[in-house]
Amino acid sequence: MHNQYDVIVVGAGNGGLTCAATTAKAGLRTLVLEKHGLPGGCASSFVRGRFEFEPSLHELCAVGTPENPKQVYKMFKELGAEINWCYEDNLFRAICKGENGYDVTLKAGRQAFIESFEKYCPGNRERLEKLFRLQDIDDKAVDYVMKKNGKPNLLTMALKYGDFLRMGSHSVKEVLTELGFDDKAISILSTYWCYLGVPADELNAFHYFNMMTGYIDDGAAMPRYRSHELSLALAKVIEEHGGKIWYNAEVTRFLYDESGKAIGVQINGQQTVYGREIVSNLIPNRVANLSNEENVPQRTRKLMNARRFGISTLTIYLGLNCSREELGLNDYTVFISKDPDSRKQYETKGMYIVNCLNKVIEDSSPPGTCTLFFTAMLEDGDLPEDLDEYNYEKYKTDLAEKYIIDAEKVLGIKIRERIEEIEAATPVTMARYLGTPAGTIYGYRLSEWDNLLARTQSEDSDRTVENLSYVGGHYIHGGGYSTAYDCGHTAALRLIEKYRDQLNRPEEQEVRS
């Protein structure tokens, strides 16, 4: 067996691309295998008529500005990937229908956020300031844990970072209640829960507020030319540093040696390639399905069987033949719900998001047009009993119509007569393009017991196969672009560290050049 590559990355999603860009740049011989003709996975785009649609990104957090760069900005910059970032100042508008409803528009920036929040829920200034201070404590605690290489002194943690331990082991709702917020404030502050797919009474507070303050502190950023720009920029880094990306190259088998170490993959049922390290951007369930049974350790099977899948979505893409101004929509992101309680929003799928990209990038569609992007939660289990391939198209169209009519009513705008292009995607679409079981987009559900911090602390015991690592939305963070990028980068740094000695060997360098 001959190792043709140091690192074989299976799947060119966000995690796979940043991992490969980082290893290629460090001089590891890197091969990326992507089953589609495009890089990016969810981070892509598609063209219908004169529109190019963003398929999945709502807002990228942890970007920051050139003056105040945050981790995603820095990562792209360090890799040498040039992105045309566009920014949005408003955080979101949230409309809750019904008796205890509200219609609020919140601003980014801590002070601006507090001011805008006070307008709708007066008297919460001090509580919000506490919430932000808690976030600062969390940041310091994380820095400390990192500095101790993940092995912090428990006494120090308990004495200095007690509130981090509390946030890290309680739900969003528990923390907000403890801070004294009332139901309306809790509802508004929980709005982003759907980005993580678990309602506020179950969602880990540390995880949630970490994301939320990210949006509040730095606003949201979008790439100028849809997510496809992000993916091509990373693909370019990989190729510039001698890495290879093969498209239409679907991994059909994961290969192991007699001791159970991962050693290579089979592509398109035809050829095999071998590598020192296999990095899977595919969800572990798929890897298991593509491996011999004896190569899936018992713990891995138990873990996968214990877990539930994360959410999937109904997404509706509309190209309208009127400008955003003519349409009369002044917001980039509007969350629309019919009940203020996030548990009810989750159970009844009574929450959806409407995005108008032209608010952030005016010319993201031709002059005199605009696009709308609806996202509603929809899971495999929500698909009707009698749904099949024959009535699927009708189901999808009817469902899209229902949401469009509701949005027309809630937002007071006319959509239907202006539709020039329409596409709707469901878990079936996600299952088709992402190849994930049940069409999950966020991997595994961030359940109360399987939350971010429990996963982080179990990382070593969850890694059961030597030379096989995982990156992507299904890994520890359970979804989202910035965390998928981050985990790809982190995985790459670990491999670079592992092969550091060989990287510095001059004869190896020679062979490579």
């Binding site: 509130d163 091509l232 370019k236 138990k302 033949n321 069409g439």
Partner: protein
């Protein structure tokens, strides 16, 4: 000091143990495959990687057109054909003298026939100078095994987008998707009215004319008007499908124009529809098929048209080199040298052949350039509509067998 003193911080220390308990409780049976989930089952049924079919029946529609009825080839492991939307096409694999080609053909039968009777009908006209139809006519017989793609294409009716009425502008052989659409309306599977303006040289050369008439007779949502270029006949329009005719028959503003015909018809309509101020929402122009003569276009650098360039193609670990005349698309040059490359629409739209232009310069007809904006910045192309203007080097996707 704590802001959260009523919350127990020791809960944190139990988190890993709690997680381990959940894992311990779980079964260790092997993980179910994707097919255990409904979303994946429907996705697989609608979008198989390919379909192995067998020709069950052949019917001559006229002297130059043959309809092939294709059913699932169960022996080859294909249990049933994938359902489709009227207006979609199949990409057909052909092996001509050891070279592999793909050609898209619109399905002329209805979705209901696929569902209930298990067949697709492809109607293929013999055309001078075209390799694929020629080959099909010579070689396809009852019992021939054919591998095709899943149904593809977005030229389908959507009730949320399109008008309640359809004005179909049909040029000759472009009729096949409309036969499917007419059946679908007659079957009650699409709720719309359709008036077909059917352009032909004369009435006797109108393909599927009888079948369409039968549908019109049995369904009051369908109407047909023949537009004859070389024949004057009562009840028919004389001449070509032009702006005046569109004005005459597009009586209701909520009417979508669905167009399928020869390239010249698109060129004409693209110009006219703008002048007529019909909103873009109501045009559905798409072509499936290859663009062959770039030098016909005004912005083509005429001095290059007789040049022959070197084309270097990397696919996975292998690099090939070949000649590519200026008037040949990169796709055709690649296929003719025996390399298999993924391709579906062959007209720049679907993006299945998405490739990286490593070096060199290519010409692509602007109206066929449906690339994503970032592709233009990062130098990605669709080789099916690219013609070389210099020596060219590209990286193409692998081919899945």
């Amino acid at each position: 000091m704590s802001y959260l003193k009523n919350l127990n911080k020791l809960k944190f220390t139990g988190m890993v143990k709690r997680r381990e308990e959940e894992i311990k409780k779980a079964s260790d049976i092997m993980i179910p495959d994707n097919i255990a989930y409904k979303a994946n089952r429907i996705a697989a049924a609608l979008h198989p990687a390919y379909q192995d079919l067998i020709i069950e029946k052949m019917v001559m529609e006229d002297e130059l057109t043959c309809s092939y009825y294709l059913i699932a080839d169960k022996q080859a492991g294909c249990q049933k054909i994938a359902y489709f939307q009227a207006g979609q096409y199949l990409n057909v694999e052909l092996n001509i003298e050891g070279h592999h080609f793909n050609r898209p053909y619109s399905i002329s039968s209805s979705p209901r026939q696929a569902k209930e009777e298990g067949y697709y009908r492809l109607s293929i006209s013999l055309m001078k100078g075209f390799i694929a139809p020629d080959y099909i006519w010579e070689n396809w017989k009852v019992g021939t095994r054919v591998r095709v793609s899943a149904p593809l294409g977005t030229s389908t009716y959507n009730r949320l987008r399109d008008g309640k009425k359809i004005l179909a502008l049909i040029g000759g052989n472009g009729v096949t998707p409309f036969v499917s659409l007419a059946h679908t309306i007659a079957d009650g599977d699409i709720d719309a009215e359709m008036l077909m303006l059917y352009g032909n040289k004369d009435l006797k050369s109108a393909l599927f004319r009888e079948e369409l008439q039968q549908l019109v007779d049995q369904c009051d949502k369908l109407k047909i008007v023949d537009v004859l270029e070389e024949e004057v006949r009562e009840g028919c329009e004389h001449g070509l499908i032009d702006a005046d005719l569109i004005r005459k028959y597009r009586c209701d503003d909520d009417t979508s124009l669905f167009v399928c015909g020869p390239q010249a018809m698109y060129d004409y309509l693209n110009e006219q529809l703008v002048k007529m101020d019909i909103p873009r929402k109501y045009w559905r122009l798409e072509i499936y098929g290859q663009y062959n003569e770039p030098s016909r276009l005004a912005d083509y650098p005429q001095e290059k048209k007789d040049e022959v360039y070197r084309l270097k193609v990397t696919q996975g670990e292998i690099t090939y080199e070949m000649a590519c005349p200026a008037g040949t698309s990169l796709m055709n040059a690649i296929e003719q040298s025996g390399i298999r490359i993924p391709v579906h629409c062959r007209c720049g739209y679907c993006g299945f052949c998405h490739s990286r232009l490593v070096s060199g310069e290519v010409f692509m007809p602007e109206f066929l350039d449906h690339r994503r904006q970032a592709d233009k910045i990062y130098g990605y192309i669709h080789p099916c509509i690219c013609f070389p203007l210099s020596d060219v080097e590209i990286e193409i996707p692998l081919y899945k067998n």
